[in-house]
């Protein structure tokens, strides 16, 4: 037997992993990142401060999308490719209801803005939630017992269909929304203003996250979700309606995407039919960074990604700039999957995912 085994050549990269070199490369990269941040902090503390706050704001919006990926992955181990496009249609819904139907704009009075945005929020959540849940019903449930690749492929197909709907609703060019939220300054850091609109967006994300945590941790439904995520068969034997729970999870994930769609529309005041693809991938990266299936991890990962994006686009010393944002996010995704596939807060599984 020994000769049989020795005949199998050990590939060089296997030895590379075994020697423990890989973690040190990872630590070296993180160290470099911090050195770069430190130098920038010393050189331009004002810029650094505002980018920190803006990064957290953006990260909270990303976090809402990332949670959708994480929820679905946790329960079905499926990357819901269509999620980003559900988010995009949420933005479209915000445009359609908020701007075109209710007619919110810069000059609306405070009361109008409050009830108008509340109504828009409800519409976005209901629309995206039901859309996501029906996608589950139509495209994923019939394939529950098929090979793993099958639902992933239908997810891509659904993403295409939704993106095409968005293209036909929004047109190929970016659509800009009026500044519904007040843009006046809350505070300035080193001469850089932070507007009320961004603060409101950041603060609106927090109660949504709180409600989600309550829902998953404290309610009967939430317990069913966690049980189904752990073991579908055992959950079914304990009397949990597995399909109903999965449907509900998609509904919640879709509603989160709806909130994110509205908040993103308010935040960037610019929406586009392919934002779902780009931001969906960024959000997915965040979910992986935090440890996919782990809800606090998704938010943490999203905030880190938001910070990295803002720092990359805003800092002046050796920052690659916005041309490279997407490449950097994907490079992070790849590095995370290579160096720490379980993410920051996730648990290591035997399959390396």
């Amino acid at each position: 037997m020994a000769t049989e085994a020795s005949r199998q050549p050990v590939s060089w990269f296997r030895g590379f992993y075994a020697a423990g070199v890989v973690p040190w490369i990872g630590r070296g990269l993180v160290l470099l990142l911090f050195v770069w941040l430190g130098v920038n902090l010393v050189k331009t503390p004002g810029d650094f401060g505002i980018l920190l706050v803006e990064g957290v704001t953006l990260g909270l919006v990303y976090g809402l999308i990332a949670l959708g990926y994480s929820l679905v992955y946790g329960i079905l181990e499926l990357i819901n490719f269509a999620h980003g496009d559900v988010f995009m249609l949420g933005s479209w819904m915000a445009l359609y209801i908020g701007v075109q139907k209710i007619g919110l704009d810069e000059n609306s009075s405070g009361v109008t803005i409050v009830w108008g945005l509340g109504l828009t929020l409800l519409c976005c959540m209901a629309f995206c939630g039901l859309l996501n849940a029906s996608i589950e019903r139509v495209a994923y449930r019939p394939l529950r017992n098929a090979p793993r690749l099958a639902p992933l492929i239908t997810a891509i197909g659904m993403s295409f269909i939704l993106q095409d709907v968005g293209l036909n609703r929004l047109g190929p060019a970016p659509v800009s929304l009026p500044n519904i939220l007040p843009t006046s300054t809350v505070f300035t850091i080193g001469g850089n203003a932070y507007g009320w609109d961004h603060l409101i967006v950041a603060l609106s994300a927090l109660p949504v996250l709180a409600v989600l945590v309550w829902l998953v941790q404290r309610t009967r439904r939430g317990r069913g979700m966690r049980a189904t995520a752990q073991d579908q068969e055992a959950a079914a034997m304990m009397g949990i309606n597995v399909n109903g729970t999965i449907w509900f999870t998609f509904l919640i994930a879709g509603a989160l995407a709806g909130v994110a769609g509205l908040l993103y529309a308010l935040y960037s005041t610019n929406i586009q039919f392919d934002q779902g693809f780009t931001l969906g991938l960024i959000a997915f990266t965040s979910a992986v960074l935090g440890g996919i299936g782990n809800l606090p991890g998704a938010v943490l990962g999203a905030i880190i990604i938001g910070l990295i994006q803002q720092f990359n686009e805003g800092l002046s010393w050796h920052a690659p700039g916005s041309d490279w944002t997407q490449s950097i996010v994907f490079a992070i995704l790849i590095l995370i999957l290579v160096f720490r596939p379980e993410g920051l807060l996730g648990e290591r599984t035997p399959e390396g995912g």
Binding site: P147, G157, V165, A236, V242, F330
Partner: protein
């Protein structure tokens, strides 16, 4: 699988639409109950219907051709044993002859109902290029079962290889080697496209290995995302590559153009020679040869030791590893081989279009090629080639013509090409739901999808 328990519950809570939604499943169940002789009859019946539908609905030469192929397929098992060893060459030879002579009779074909004109030669070249890419992707997705969503990266790599070594991009160098139709004083590197096809394949293969090594350890869906990431990074590098530390590598969003045409002796493919050897015909025959080589390699690889290892990994990774299949090496080879063909196709396509732009390489192309593989039938080379030709034809001219037909018939003003990616998405979803093995399936893949070889839960939780 304890399907009985599931069925009882299903009957109790059948929603009204199950009557319709469950119809394909019901048909499949009934079909499963037939014996071999009855299945044979059903097969003949629906094939005849298809041929009649093609003759009446589309155009008679197409219908007759398909009918002849079906007929030969039925006749082949009855060939005397003395000659039956040549059976497997009959249909490919027939299709090859029809394709090779296509430029000579295309002008006399007229147009089809609904689908508009028969594919023009330019469209045929693009169909051929996409066939190569789809066959290459089929090695990764169909044989080895690794979902690759960044195949466009290999196409881009191939296209840029052709662009670097056969254009005026690096004008400060002046190097000529075997290029046809380029003056010897033209600045830049000009190498014969035929050599570049191989070089592009090899460079792309290296890129494939570099992408594959860190990521192939990961499980299927992670691999999909990582490949998608690479598929986005490479075009972005191309877009920003006009100033990489002051060096203009890719000429940025303006792309690299013109790229030299391929050629032999004094004849280059761009200007052609005389009335017979026109440019389009030369490009078409060129791509035909490349597709033939690709299909040949793909088939031989499938039956090789490596190919059987791929299929073993696809069906059950753990069992394959236990049987001594080296997982990493086998997967990396699948990835590298798929990449090779993608690179060759990309280089030829770039030479055909005489240009390459970063915007040619969006995620949509990856998904487009993937839907070709899925529609045609994962794992079956002929199915994949059919899927590629059909979708590339639709994309190139069919959809617009269908749009005209619909608008003329119903007096509407639909802009059908605007819905093209929705249509491809729909094709992917409907194929996966109703016929996951594709239109022309490989028998083995079909069994996997219907019996669920991989990842079958011990217990059915479909309530």
């Amino acid at each position: 699988m304890t399907q009985d328990t599931g069925k009882v519950v299903d009957e109790i809570r059948d929603p009204w639409y199950h009557r319709w939604a469950g119809l394909p499943r019901e048909w499949r169940r009934r079909y499963g109950e037939l014996d071999d002789r009855q299945r044979f009859q059903v097969g003949i019946a629906w094939r005849s219907l298809l041929v009649i539908a093609l003759i009446v609905g589309i155009d008679w030469p197409l219908g007759v051709f398909v009918g002849v192929i079906f007929a030969i397929n039925y006749a082949l098992p009855r060939v005397p044993e003395r000659w039956s060893k040549y059976n497997r060459f009959v249909i490919p030879t027939l299709v090859a002859i029809a394709a090779l002579t296509y430029p000579l009779y295309v002008a006399n074909l007229g147009s089809m109902k609904l689908l508009g004109d028969y594919p023009a030669l330019g469209t045929m070249v693009i169909m051929g290029v996409y066939s190569m890419m789809a066959v290459g992707l089929n090695i990764v997705v169909g044989y080895a079962g690794l979902l690759d969503l960044g195949y466009v990266a290999f196409y881009a790599m191939g296209a840029y290889t052709a662009a670097w070594f056969a254009s005026v991009q690096f004008a400060h160098r002046n190097f000529h080697f075997g290029a046809v139709g380029v003056g010897t004083n033209t600045p830049g590197i000009h190498v014969s496209i035929w050599l570049l096809l191989i070089l592009a394949g090899l460079l792309t293969l290296i890129v494939g290995v570099v992408i594959g090594l860190p990521t192939l350890r990961l499980r299927g869906d992670y691999l999909a995302i990582v490949t998608l990431g690479f598929g986005e990074i490479l075009p972005q590098v191309a877009r920003n590559g006009d100033n990489l530390g002051g060096f203009n590598l890719t000429n940025g969003p303006n792309g690299i153009t013109p790229i030299d045409p391929p050629g032999f002796g004094n004849v280059n493919f761009l200007s052609g020679s005389g009335t017979f050897w026109t440019s389009e015909r030369l490009y078409f025959w060129g791509v035909f040869v490349l597709v033939a080589i690709t299909i040949f390699c793909s088939l031989r690889l499938r039956d090789s030791r490596l190919g059987r290892a791929w299929i073993a990994i696809r069906e059950d990774e753990t069992a394959a590893a236990a049987m001594g299949v080296p997982l990493m090496r086998t997967k990396t080879w699948a990835y590298a081989t798929g990449a090779f063909f993608g690179g060759v196709a990309g280089a030829y396509f770039a030479s055909f279009k005489q240009s390459t732009f970063p915007n040619d390489f969006s995620f949509n192309i990856s998904a487009f090629i993937l839907s070709m593989v899925i529609l045609g039938g994962m794992g079956n080379v002929w199915g994949v080639v059919f899927g590629a030709c059909f979708l590339a034809f639709l994309n190139q001219q069919g959809l617009a013509d269908i749009g005209h037909s619909i608008n003329n018939t119903f007096g509407t003003t639909l802009d059908v090409p605007k819905y093209q990616f929705g249509i491809y998405g729909l094709i992917i979803v409907v194929t996966m739901l109703l016929r996951p093995e594709g239109l022309i399936p490989s028998q083995r893949r079909k069994a996997e999808f219907h019996e669920g070889v991989a990842d079958t839960p011990l217990y059915d939780v479909q309530a």
